[in-house]
Amino acid sequence: MSTPVVELAHASKSYGEVQALQDVNLTIEPGEVVAMLGPNGAGKTTSISLMLGMRRPTKGDAKLFGLHPRDRRARSRVGVMLQESGVPGMLKVREMVELFGSYYPSPLPAAEAIRMAGLEEKAGSLVKDLSGGQRQRLYLALAVCGNPDVLFLDEPTVGMDVEGRRMFLQEIAGLASKGRTVILTTHYLEEADQLARRVVVVNHGRIIADATPASIKARVAGKRVSFATAELLDPRQLEGLPLNSENVEDRRVRLLTNEPEAVLRELFRRGVAMQDLEVSGADLEEAFVAMTHEEVTG
């Protein structure tokens, strides 16, 4: 076995009163392409920060290539795109890429990094004159210019237009196919689906699922069926139904299913008296909540 790229062992992180991560265990092996999926505030960025040593775990341990994440030897194998970071406006794109390249032991030629990011036309422009999408591409160029073994991409496609996003995902897929390890965060399931072979779902600071995109998709694509009952529902009434999750609170019942028609047909057949019936698309957030504490394997 080679050394894992990332190891979080019982890692917790709190900011004052706020518990951002709780007892997270995660190992990522070389060559994996992993998407961390979750709603805003779920703890994705905090996880990345711990992996990169930009924040210290309150409890537990974080390792990068088996080393302390702040170790220069580990850092030298890593390229990053962060959500909230700036670059000097008064440098030109090419100067910026050459500068970042000099931090790494075997960098790519600056021109190649710029080409990969699709910024050839802007190579001579000052960074301050770039548009939001172009700036995001510059961050990609800076992430790949050190020829890293691992790429950390925190919400990389935010602010990109459709075409930019398509190109970007293609470029990342290309890097992944060359054996690079890629760890990205996103709140778009389809982005995770396109790139990753492994999806780690994070919500409320916990990992609630760790599986292939297909099995996560099966969970998330469902509908929500909710209704009220006159009497308290007998739990046996729900037995054997194709449900992803069920939630009975007093006389309010909320079900998550991929086959709402079949579920309703069966409920009518069983003679459940439903009031105030509603069927709606489950949003991602709700699907995440439904997954809480369920181990999904795929």
Partner: protein, 267 residues
């Protein structure tokens, strides 16, 4: 599976320092508000205040002229100005724009970043002194020997070192919005109070009482001495010791401010 080829684990530091210093320099130089004021301002003050009476003796019977005396004053003012404003305001701005966040995730050692910043500021300070020197020599008729020119330049640069620490500390303590105001509010009055613009005996008594505790006052004695102008009295060794003390104190302040900022941001 990943293919891990044998290769150097770390980038060499010297080329990195070279690139970083160059980047820091052009970052400062391409901001006209900074580069022109830092490089031209001391010469401008010299032209407005010093040039009219540059060739007159500093006092009755003196061999040193007012121009030579004021050249030394402005050389010190100029280099310290670059350090406090260049270092302080640029650091505060970079923090404000979260430029340090991305840097923190790279293998760039913090020390390389700071040394590069100091080197780039020193280069701009040298340029300021050269512009000032050419003006004083060409238009002000400053007659210094080659060794006096060298001594003045060298002492001015040495005296700028404590201000690197001060600028660094202010850059981490002040917010990007308040940095220009705070640094100017500290720097300009102390330059006056140290006798850089007007001789101390023209200033009110309470300023004269404060002056000996100001770093620019101590620096002023050292640069005035290099052009043969009289100092406020006291030994030059004492002045050097004071400057050494300020250097230690300001760098400790800077280090404390840096740690505080890192603690806030990365813990």
């Amino acid at each position: 599976m990943s293919v891990v080829t044998a290769r150097a684990r770390l980038a060499p530091v010297l080329p990195m320092l070279g690139r970083q210093s160059y980047a820091e320099f052009i970052k400062l130089f391409r901001v006209p508000a900074f580069s022109t004021t830092s490089i031209v301002l001391p010469a401008m003050f010299y032209a407005f205040i010093g040039l009219g009476q540059a060739k007159q003796p500093l006092y009755h019977g003196a061999t040193v002229t007012f121009g030579e005396y004021f050249l030394a004053s402005m050389a010190l003012y100029g280099v310290a100005n670059v350090m406090v404003l260049g270092f302080g305001i640029s650091l505060a701005n970079e923090r404000g724009q979260k430029q340090d966040v991305l840097m923190q995730a790279t293998p760039l050692p913090a020390a390389v970043y700071f040394v590069a910043k100091a080197l780039s500021a020193l280069v701009i300070a040298v340029m300021a002194v050269i512009v000032l020197g050419v003006l004083a020599w060409g238009a002000g008729g400053a007659h210094l020997s080659a060794s006096q020119w060298l001594t003045l330049g060298l002492r001015a640069m040495l005296c700028s070192i404590p201000f690197i620490g001060l600028g660094f500390g202010l850059g981490y303590l002040a917010s990007p919005n308040s940095a220009p105001a705070v640094t100017n509010l500290i720097y300009l009055p102390t330059a006056f109070a140290s006798g850089l613009f007007f001789p101390l005996n023209l200033l009110p008594q309470f300023l004269r009482d404060i002056a000996p505790y100001l770093p620019l006052y101590r620096g002023a004695q050292i640069v005035w001495d290099s052009v043969g102008a009289p100092t406020e009295g006291g030994s030059l060794t004492t002045d050097w010791l004071w400057m050494g003390g300020f250097t230690v104190a300001f760098f400790l302040l800077a280090f404390w401010a840096y740690r505080r900022d890192q603690g806030n941001k990365f813990n």
